[in-house]
Symmetry: C2
Subunit: 258 residues, 2 copies
Amino acid sequence: MNHSSKDIDHSLDPTVNDFMPGISVDNVIFGFHDQQLKVLLLECADQEHWMLPGGYIIKTESVNDAAKKVLTARTGLSEVYLQQFGVFGGLERSTPEVVNDFLKAMKVDAEKFSWHLERFITIGFFALVEFQKVNPKPDAMSLSCQWFDFHNLPKMIFDHSDLVDEALKTMRVQLRHQPIGYNLLPEEFTLKDLRTIYETILDRKIDRANFNRKMLSLGILHKKEKLFTGGAHKAPYLYSFDKSAYFAMLKEGFGLGF
Amino acid sequence: MNHSSKDIDHSLDPTVNDFMPGISVDNVIFGFHDQQLKVLLLECADQEHWMLPGGYIIKTESVNDAAKKVLTARTGLSEVYLQQFGVFGGLERSTPEVVNDFLKAMKVDAEKFSWHLERFITIGFFALVEFQKVNPKPDAMSLSCQWFDFHNLPKMIFDHSDLVDEALKTMRVQLRHQPIGYNLLPEEFTLKDLRTIYETILDRKIDRANFNRKMLSLGILHKKEKLFTGGAHKAPYLYSFDKSAYFAMLKEGFGLGF
């Protein structure tokens, strides 16, 4: 199964001893744009299927570093919030049918991908990135790298749509006990901007007054100038996150509060 | 690296093709007894080190099933709450020093364990079990299986004490947005019993009145008879969990509540 070093192209043919066998990482990269939550996906060679940005784990790198490397390669960003949200280790994700569909979508022959015909476990990560700052870049296996509204995801390979669902579910639960927004919003924002993020992720309307009261009570927001809108008396205030309070709360969580 | 089938003893020598290479599962099994949170550990052959109940993943079983199998084998229980809490995939957990310490603690020679000299990633699970129902049973590699107070854990192999810390941290955060107690308490219990669990896991005192008010407001408790203590007027009420409300809340979480 060893190839001579001449033959090795890690990104195209990971049939090499450099990788941990049977394990991959996959990143669900969320961005926020036009009042919508977006997910960054890669286009497969068949122009029909899409996949999550992912990769393998080199034996000499940590699992978290492998995921970070993928995130940086696809977005151009480093120093981004990236979090494990689960291991996908069911047998149904590596059946011959699933693997065949994968090979067809990738337009590669089975022999070149024999390494991937074995059972695979993937470790799911999700990241929250500032949409404007991302420079989407396809990998060597894909035709393009694009954002999709999470309500309108295209056909995806493997269990990748399950991974998006699960990442979203994790984010929704965390939303209830951890602050969110730091990586998704610009430096200054209105309470409405922040509420829109919550409404988008939760996929429902939230009472404005209730939201504002609870958000302000957390002590993680600094009030800034009013937003310049022309009609100053009606203009909403801008806010920024108190970074140290925000990150302390990210660690601690809030909740019942006893 | 293949052994003939005669030589194969899966539990003692997993140098076989039946397992996913380079991945293990480890379970942090929590029980509650004598007002203390306990962790179930296995005694290594050197009588000095202890380890978490763990195992490898057979190629034809899911990751979650592998973890369940370990839990059932060590406790005698099935149908127990078991949850992934993280992948431990750093390089520092597989250095030659770490592996040598492991081999010494297990009193096995390196040749027999060549499979484990490769880099290993482990998937951490935690379980909450009813202490009284557990029948601790060592595995083929260990001398005994015993409960330890989480404040007084013995010397452990690998990064297993980090796994306990991380499981506890996860449980502490979840405590703030999900109900807890169902698997840790008998059918009927007092609010004091429930509060003791929270105090034990959070490792601090909680205001009684505040706790009772918030707990009762969740709508997951049924009030039962008074506890028989002899002096009926002072006796506390017994409660049981409303299972459907409890499990709905386990899924949904509580929190800011907008």
